[in-house]
Symmetry: C2
Subunit: 209 residues, 2 copies
């Protein structure tokens, strides 16, 4: 299980957080609001500061798959997100472009019917992300992750949406490949300490399994 921190503030705030947390995270996500504010300079700045840290560009691609995926990878991203609700032609373009860059594709399953999920792996996507919307704060992604884990036992899953330190033990039983944490790290009083706690909790489960 890998820990991904989702950076969603301004570029200055995000780089301050990243400086504090980078020793504890496996992937840094350049979140959608950060991309909308700053464009790819949020990716290039992170890449320049941390040459070996895997970066995910949360572009949520819906159209123009080749053009948009190339923008992410040219800027230095290792993984780009595409919306599972998009048309197949766009998914195919994103996958082909990722292969050309030796990069990876995460499908955001928001609003995708559960029975469509396995199809994304068959066509070459690398990760399926169970994602509870920021706008539905009372929901958690646990039930969705559970359904997907039992439906596709070996799927490389990611999980995002309001994840707290207390959620990790439950999530870990479902063995996601990537656990995505946003505000519980980025808005913690001490982001470095929070990231370290998440990493240690995740590692404890890895040692047990």
């Amino acid at each position: 299980m890998r820990l991904q921190v989702a950076l969603d503030g301004t570029l200055a705030e995000s780089l301050t957080v990243l400086e504090a947390v980078h020793p504890y995270v496996d992937i840094a996500e350049i979140g959608t609001p950060l991309i909308l504010r700053e464009g790819v300079r949020a990716i290039t700045a992170s890449r320049q500061l941390y040459p070996n840290l895997p970066l995910l560009a949360d572009f949520k691609i819906m159209d123009a798959g080749e053009i948009e995926a190339a923008i992410a990878f040219d800027a230095g991203a290792d993984i780009v997100t595409v919306l599972g609700v998009t048309q197949e032609a766009t998914l195919a373009s994103v996958i082909t472009t990722a292969q050309r860059y030796d990069a990876e594709v995460m499908v955001d399953l928001m609003q995708v019917p559960a029975d469509r999920a396995s199809g994304f792996l068959e066509i070459g996507c690398d990760y399926l992300c169970v994602h509870t919307s920021t706008d539905m704060r009372s929901m958690t992604p646990v039930a969705g992750l559970e359904a997907l884990r039992y439906g596709i036992p070996h799927a490389p899953l990611a999980v995002a949406g309001g994840i707290r330190l207390e959620t990790i033990d439950l999530l870990a039983t479902l063995n996601p490949r990537i656990i995505i944490v946003g505000s519980a790290i980025t808005r913690a009083a001490d982001p470095a300490a929070a990231a370290q706690q998440f990493k240690e909790r995740i590692n404890a489960h890895a040692r047990l399994s």
Copy 2:
């Protein structure tokens, strides 16, 4: 019928095109790839150069409705796009935020079942956009526009996807509120002449109706 030009190149290319075409267009769209490359500076730069030109930010919002819509409107956009496939809570957040800024919301109908379209107007969206994906080049949005026009006769519709000068006469019979043109203007040998031709063709139909 209003003419919207979709700017999708680099910022420098887009500002060059905008300088040439702004006398002929009613709305300038800051397209998704341009936003991904440059962030909101593509909006602020256009706003600064053309204080009175309506600007649409093609954010294709899928999550975090309030945060993302506010990013667009704070930068000077008059209209923001939201994906019709998103959850209702996100749509509601985008609409509420637009009302707070006295701004407008266009729903992108890509991948939305036809029978859901009228619901977007009932909850307060301003325009419904029939949008053929860039990744499905053999498709045109004409059939979708026709179905929607007969389904919701008075709906404020927008139409996008591979529109050429020759398509205008057919589209005009369906009375869209906004006709969105991308490469047929931005990649024309003479973008100003192309925009003028589109505007004149659209105006000819307006005089007839």
